[in-house]
């Protein structure tokens, strides 16, 4: 909703925005001299506190948060970051007040439908959208909308935007283990029925389960591990987000609440990452040797 503005206010705003755009492009040019992260993950914390601090309705905090998300997505894309993952809703969040959960579900449904309406723009950006999590826990309209959006962007090969909702890393790992055990059991049963000449089947398949096998069954299969994990609002914990995948990720916890997160904070975060990049890469290489 736009407020009525005087002409000179509009001009001032326009000049300010142009200046900001110029500064942003300068910052991107400087950053591009260093190694750019391929994958950034965001824990979008602080929407409710934002609403409270500005004395607005709680649901509005999440709405402003959504705008911040779209902006961050575009800034990341501008900087050449290919994979962006966000923690939109944790399975633990279902324990919240039912009214808040309902509001969040409705907001998610509304925003996913908005994205569906604009899928031409998304396809033009060549953006693939994933929804990672226990989708069967979502209400039906949200789940259907999410599945539809995933299907309509599945063929895109550019930016990969993954939304974790409702998600828990421990559920993801337990689910991967479940699937892997099923796969092994089916493989063994297949070998038993297939071997009809008296030779015993190779029952030792359980002992060669490896990190790569589990990787295949994670929601994030095919996606590189996050280089940076940014949790806004200053909290320093992962809250059950991508535990398997963030082993060597650079963890950052800037103070701004999520709706306040802007391209300046993103640039700062990437600069921090570039500062420690040689050391991180060295560790990753050593770790891969030991797998």
């Amino acid at each position: 909703m736009l407020n009525e503005k005087k002409p000179d206010e509009i001009i001032a705003t326009g000049v300010l925005e142009s200046l900001q755009n110029f500064l942003r492009k300068c910052a991107i040019a400087v950053l591009s001299y260093g190694p750019m992260p391929k994958h950034i993950a965001f824990i979008m914390d602080g929407n409710r506190r934002y609403a409270k601090s500005r004395s607005i309705k709680e649901g509005s905090g999440h709405r402003v948060g959504f705008s911040a998300l779209m902006a961050s997505l575009l800034y990341c894309h501008e900087m050449g970051v290919k994979y962006i993952t966000v923690y939109a809703f944790s399975i633990d969040n279902f324990k919240r007040d039912p009214t808040e959960v309902q509001t969040l579900m409705e907001l998610m449904e509304e925003k996913i439908n908005e994205l569906l309406e604009n899928r031409n723009v998304i396809n033009k950006l060549n953006c693939k959208i994933n929804f990672w999590g226990s989708l069967d826990m979502l209400t039906e309209p949200v789940r259907l909308a999410a599945q539809k959006l995933m299907a309509s962007t599945a063929q895109n090969t550019g930016l990969v935007f993954s939304v974790c909702m409702p998600y828990n890393s421990t559920s993801e790992i337990a689910n991967a283990v479940n699937e892997l055990c099923k796969e092994r059991r089916d493989m063994i049963q297949g070998q038993h029925t297939g071997s009809c000449n008296g030779l015993t089947a190779n029952g030792g398949t359980h002992s060669d389960i490896s990190v790569a096998d589990l990787d295949r069954h994670m929601y994030t299969a095919g996606c590189p591990d996050p280089d940076i994990v940014i949790r806004t609002s200053g909290e320093t914990r992962l809250s059950n987000f991508l535990l398997w995948q963030t082993t060597f990720s650079h963890l950052q916890n800037p103070d701004p609440l999520w709706p306040e997160f802007s391209w300046r904070h993103l640039v700062w975060g990437i600069l921090q990452y570039q500062r420690v990049y040689p050391y991180i890469e060295q560790n990753k290489t050593l770790a891969k040797k030991q797998l």
Binding site: V177, R184, I209, V211, G234, L286, A287
Partner: protein, 290 residues
């Protein structure tokens, strides 16, 4: 023993106990994770610490020994010896302040890539430390456990560790876990293998595998340690901002504390700062404060 550097909380991203008013204070952390420290220890607490909001289980990533030694122009062995003293001090303080469990990341699976000389030195150091400390553990009621991929450890270290675990089994003041040749991902993989084997043997079906069943297969949940497998607070020294394959599953809800102090310099003041920071954290576990 060297005095610890005074830890100026200069790191721009560390939440400190005097941070913004946006963070609300909770008088009681959500149960069942918090518990009261033994009453006797409360009187030994330094000012600023409240017994009822101390973490029950603290994990430490003891990073920075080599850098500490290099800064003094000494070989890394010198840093590791100094690190040993820092660990002993942390164990002593944990016990004094009523912390129930302490897990220390002594040697990660990735560390096997280090120069053989350093690795051999570390293996010898671990053996000496465990041997020398058993008497003290028995006196102070500390129960020792070693987790990690034992198969790569020298036979003598494996034997020493097993004997020390056996000797201290009935102690109950403090559970000390040393993670040697440990990797969070490998812990998850071995739990997966163990469950796959049970499925193969027909003891359970894949559909039975849920989070709690899985958690019970992790190394940190073995034996009688199943009560406190998850650290409430995870401290990493030397300024590195990552978990590096430590307690992956178990640190899902851990409060993380990063400090620039190198491990050999980590002392009472640094530990106090970490615990005060923990006390000021607003642990919501996905819920809302009201």
């Amino acid at each position: 023993m060297l005095l610890s550097q005074s830890p100026a909380a200069t790191h721009p991203q560390l939440p400190t106990s005097s941070s913004s008013s946006r963070r609300t204070h909770r008088s009681a952390p959500p149960c069942p994770r918090a518990g009261a420290a033994p009453a006797a220890a409360a009187s030994l607490l330094p000012p600023g610490l409240r017994a009822e909001s101390l973490p029950r289980h603290v994990a430490v990533v003891m990073d920075g020994n080599s850098r500490w030694a290099r800064a003094r122009g000494m070989p890394s062995a010198f840093g590791h010896e100094a690190g040993r003293h820092a660990l002993e001090e942390t164990v002593r303080l944990s016990r004094a302040w009523g912390i129930r469990a302490l897990t220390a990341f002594a040697f990660s699976h990735e560390n096997w890539s280090r120069p053989k000389l350093e690795v051999d030195f570390l293996m010898g150091l671990f053996e000496r430390v465990i041997n020398d400390s058993v008497a003290e553990f028995l006196r102070d009621g500390i129960r020792l456990r070693v987790i990690g991929d034992c198969s790569r450890l020298p036979a003598s270290l494996q034997r020493t560790a097993r004997e020390a675990e056996e000797a201290t089994r009935s102690n109950s003041q403090l559970d000390l876990t040393l993670a040697i040749s440990y990797s969070g991902r490998r812990d998850v993989v071995q739990a997966c293998r163990s469950l796959a084997e049970k499925v193969r043997a027909g003891l359970l079906s894949p559909e039975d595998i849920d989070e709690s069943l899985f958690a019970g297969e992790l190394e940190t949940s073995r034996g009688s340690y199943e009560l406190l497998p998850c650290p409430d607070l995870l401290i990493r020294t030397s300024g590195e901002l990552r978990l590096s394959n430590f307690l992956l599953w178990q640190s899902a809800y851990s409060e993380l504390f990063f400090t620039d102090t190198l491990w050999p310099d980590f002392g009472e003041a640094d530990y106090l700062e970490a615990l005060c920071s923990f006390q000021s954290r607003d642990r919501r576990f996905g819920r809302r404060n009201l």
